[in-house]
Amino acid sequence: MLGMDETKVQGRIKNRQLLNKIFRTLFFFSTLIGLIVLVMLLARVLTQGLGWFDWEFITTMPAPFADKTGILAGLGGTIALMIVVAPVSIIVGVSTALYLEMYARQNKLTRFIQVNISNLAGVPSIVYGLLGLTFFVYMLQMGYTLIAGGLTLSLLILPVIIVASQEAIRAVPNDLLEASYGMGATKLQTIVRVILPAAIPGMITGSILALSRAIGETAPLIVVGAATTIYSVPDGLLSKYSAMPIQIYYWVSKPQAEWQFVAAAGIMVLLIVLLLMNATAVFIRNKFQKRL
């Protein structure tokens, strides 16, 4: 055919198919690298941490000796932080999403707010720390308190909650809104009775994922003055506080080898909390997804 040697063409096809197989394998193993590293990471944490991880570790305040220390101050601080972060960030985030999706006109201001939100999502977390330090800690004179840390983290995860809530609102079918407006319902009534009930599962899922990001944040909390050595759980908005990642960072930075094991045990507690939160998010999503 066309003067080409039939066997040569066949040979080239074979080569091309072989190349395809080789690269297919290569791509597959590259994909596995990420998963393998994840497994190695978890294995490392477990092998180092299991020996130190027990109920006593969870219920003990920090101590200067590796075998006597615990993560209670960090765990309590993290929970206290979430008590501040969750309401602030969810109320402001959902409200912003409602404004943008339901009330805002399509004008330059709206587009600016939208672009601004996606840019905020890309600002490094430590820069939020600097904002919190100047604004909350110094200018509003909150000092190194729980409320300053909580508000800083709230600003940090706000873009994530806004975007997730916007998607949840947009997913509500338009004909439900028409049905409501068609009965003479006002915009607010439609939001409260139709949009929110349908969008809340999506909003909760997005919020939990955002909160789990806040739980893992370390850098901004260092900047706004979360304490590394503290022997109490916060009892008010103006308390000093620590957080699990801060404790872990403190332990990891210690030169003595035994503190690595303590850090690993701390990481186990942190990862368990994150796992529970993510499982809740997935559960809520699966439970309510079928309804609409």
Binding site: R16, Q17, L19, N20, R24, F27, F28, S30, T31, G34, L35, L38, L41, R44, V45, V92, G93, S95, T96, Y99, L100, Y103, F112, I113, V115, N116, S118, N119, L120, G122, V123, P124, S125, I126, V127, Y128, L130, L131, L133, T134, F135, L155, L158, P159, T186, L188, R213, G216, T218, A219, I222, V223, P245, I248, Y249, V252, Q260, I267, L271, L274
Partner: protein
Amino acid sequence: MMGNIKEDKQKIDVQQMINEKKSTQNNLKIIEKIVPVFLFLCAALSILTTVGILFTLLRESITFFGEQGFFSFITGTKWNPWAGDFGVLPLITGTLQITVISILVALPIGLASAIFLSEYASDKVRRTIKPTLEVLAGVPTVVYGYFAVSFVTPILRSIFPEIGIFNALSAGLVVGIMIVPMIASLSEDAMNSVPTSLREGALALGSTRLEVALKVVVPAAFSGIVAATVLAISRAIGETMIVTIAAGASPNLTFDPLVSIQTLTAFIVQGIKGDTTFGSMIYYSVYAVGMTLFVFTLAMNLLSQYIARKFREEY
């Protein structure tokens, strides 16, 4: 025909009831007016956040530049704030090193994963692997920092005996792993949006899957892949805990990945963490470094958005 006797006895006029209720609905009208104002204020908070970031960074760094000079800051080759040396270049090269190493790790792995997921994997495999890969993005960075010093660095030491306890290589590798899901996920999205008809056209001409992937899909999704990479670069520049824990705190003007360095972010942690007093020169220098960091990441984010927008117009 449809009504029954019981009903006829107690007839109700709904429209009349609605009219009677109107006065009580008046409270609702006030709420109806207040709510959008409240919602707008919440939306305005996101703008205030940006203004706040710019204001704090600018105010403190302007004080700093007033004392130390802007030019000597950006061209100085020695960073030792406690001795009064404020040349930011070592921090920038440190950041650059981490970024380059991490992209060298993440780009091939991320791109290969994206090609596998989008061009080779079955739907079922994709739906298992993709979320698992995204778990990597959810691991707190302090955990990665621990992984770098307690696992990666010891392995590197057995390969390069001269490597420092803190070094750029270990931190860079782990930052790379952290940003793999970002590149993989966003690139896969870009590849998925390449029309199937293009693929079918090439397959019908007798191309193998590999040829379709490399000669059709990747070129068509190229700007999406670039946008993803640029966004990943921005993440690597801004990453703090991994480099603080694993790369050390020695601002060296070097490109040797085996020695300890310091990045922009790591200095901010170091500068703020100590007994830095409000209003000291170190305090201000932290903000000057923060400003530098912010400018770099913002430029990367805007570049990524610009590329992604151009990409969308093509289809």
